[in-house]
């Protein structure tokens, strides 16, 4: 359903992405793992054109875009196919929680305020924060803000959800509540592309894991293959840094 073809990007003479091709089918939960600075986040941000690759194509089921010749209208169309959850949440600071969730529905999808309000109420309920609906981001904890930003992403019913290290900026005790929400969403059959360092989480919710290093895909496959039966040295080297805690823990 989403296909990235031959994505290349370099920053200041260094090749960050060396011709990556990736496919995400409907209902897939694809997780990108790998050492920091190897292009995982950059690749993710190419999907919604927050980064512009030097070369490559992106294809959705009924839409195609070539990065070297992208026009404004096409970029807008591309962005409206996905929604992103950021490491730093980036909730709109001048809007309340519920307004944050409503905003894109009103502005981009041209829904009425009433419709958007009811829909947003439901979504806030799903992430467990309906009682905070009139709070401003500055009055909420990191975990709460992140859950609201997930609601905001869900609100536009995107074809794919993009998660950019959603828990990396959170205090440890707040990580669980956010992972729970993402887990629930995955179970509903949503299409997800996720970048994370939470290995046990990656193993438990992914349908496919992609290990990237130095701007290339080293290995991709089901979680069991990557985490337990990999025969690539680089993969095993990387995973060695994480404690052998690959069982599904009950805290999730």
């Amino acid at each position: 359903m989403l296909a990235l073809k031959n994505i290349r990007k370099s920053f200041n003479g260094t090749d960050v992405l060396k011709g990556i091709s990736l496919k995400v089918n409907e209902g897939d939960v694809v997780t990108l793992i790998g050492p920091s600075g190897t292009g995982k986040t950059t690749l993710l941000r190419c999907v919604n054109f927050l980064e512009k690759p030097d070369e490559g194509e992106v294809q959705f089921s009924n839409f195609q875009l070539n990065y070297s010749h992208a026009k404004k209208k096409e970029i807008l169309r591309l962005r409206r196919k996905s929604a992103m959850v950021f490491q730093q949440y980036h909730l709109f600071k001048n809007k309340t929680a519920i307004e944050n969730v409503m905003e894109a529905q009103i502005v981009v999808q041209k829904k009425t305020k009433k419709e958007a309000y009811e829909n947003s109420l439901e979504l806030l309920n799903k992430v467990g924060l309906v009682e905070k609906k009139d709070y401003y981001p500055s009055q909420l904890s990191g975990g709460q803000q992140q859950r609201i930003s997930i609601a905001r992403a869900l609100a536009i019913k995107p074809e794919i959800l993009l998660f950019d290290e959603p828990t990396s900026a959170l205090d440890p005790e707040l990580v669980g509540e956010v992972l729970n929400v993402i887990d629930q969403i995955a179970r509903t059959g949503a299409t997800i592309l996720l970048v994370t360092h939470e290995m046990s989480f990656a193993q438990s919710i992914s349908t496919k894991v992609v290990f990237m290093d130095h701007g290339e895909i080293v290995e991709e496959g089901p979680p069991s293959q990557i985490f337990n039966h990999s025969n690539r040295l680089r993969t095993k080297e990387f995973l060695k840094h994480f404690t052998n805690n690959y069982q599904k823990t009950t805290s999730l």
Binding site: L50, R79, V107, V108, S138, S149, L162
Partner: protein, 232 residues
């Protein structure tokens, strides 16, 4: 000091106030528009326009307002006549407004630019990722966050503008200072203190009121609850 004289001449100044207020109003309005355009040009880095904008701001901030007034008054007609445009019939008030717009605009753009840049990149990215157009993003997300930061500076700009009108009488504008100048030259060297004290009070009042107005605006934009700092 002659208190009676002071109160006698005060009405003269109040009647000259409208001109000052008109000049202030239009200068601020067009100055603001100009500064928005200049800020836009600087942020977007446009080929020929951005260096020009930098040059303009540098000039307008490096030279005194009085000099700029004289340059515009004597120079603009000459410059435009090279293009066949004749503006010699323009009123002195018009030249005053042009000068103040350019001067004020330069100052304001140096207030707007940092305010715009202070809104963190993440807010832009969040809006972009949801598919907002530039205009929608600007109107609903960026500008509301930029205003509380810019307002104090804009308020100062207004006060400077009000005070800058005190030099317009040099080219003969009959505003508050113009009236003062006339009174002083016609009173054979007495009562100057009363005259300028009256002028001072008029300016003090106008400044005080506009400051209150800006503070009121600041209170209104406070409701965006950005207390925890914009770069949190």
């Amino acid at each position: 000091m002659d208190i009676a004289y002071f109160f006698k001449i005060l009405p003269h100044f109040i009647s000259a106030l409208p001109i000052t207020l008109i000049v202030i109003f239009f200068s601020q309005l067009f100055g603001l528009l100009l500064s928005i355009a200049v800020t836009y040009i600087q942020i977007k880095s446009i080929k020929v326009l951005t260096p020009l904008a930098h040059l303009y701001i540098s000039f307008v901030r490096s030279t005194p307002i009085l000099l700029q007034l004289l340059l515009i008054y004597y120079g603009l007609p000459v410059l435009l006549s090279l293009f066949g445009i004749n503006i010699n019939f323009w009123s002195k008030t018009a030249f005053s407004i042009v000068t103040l717009v350019l001067h004020n605009g330069g100052f304001l753009s140096e207030v707007l630019r940092p305010a715009y840049l202070a809104v963190e990149q993440g807010q832009h990215e969040a809006a972009d990722s949801l598919g907002f157009t530039s205009f929608q993003k600007l109107r609903r997300i960026i500008i509301p966050q930029l205003l509380p930061i810019a307002l104090p500076g804009l308020g100062n700009g207004l006060i400077y503008l009000i005070h800058d009108t005190s030099i317009l009488f040099v080219i003969g504008v009959v505003d508050v200072m113009g009236v003062a100048s006339n009174l002083v030259s016609s009173s054979y060297g007495t009562d100057q203190i009363e005259v300028y004290l009256a002028v001072a009070f008029v300016y003090w009042a106008v400044t005080y009121l506009s400051d209150k107005g800006v503070k009121r605006l600041e209170k209104i934009t406070e409701r965006y609850h950005l207390e925890n700092g914009l770069k949190s």
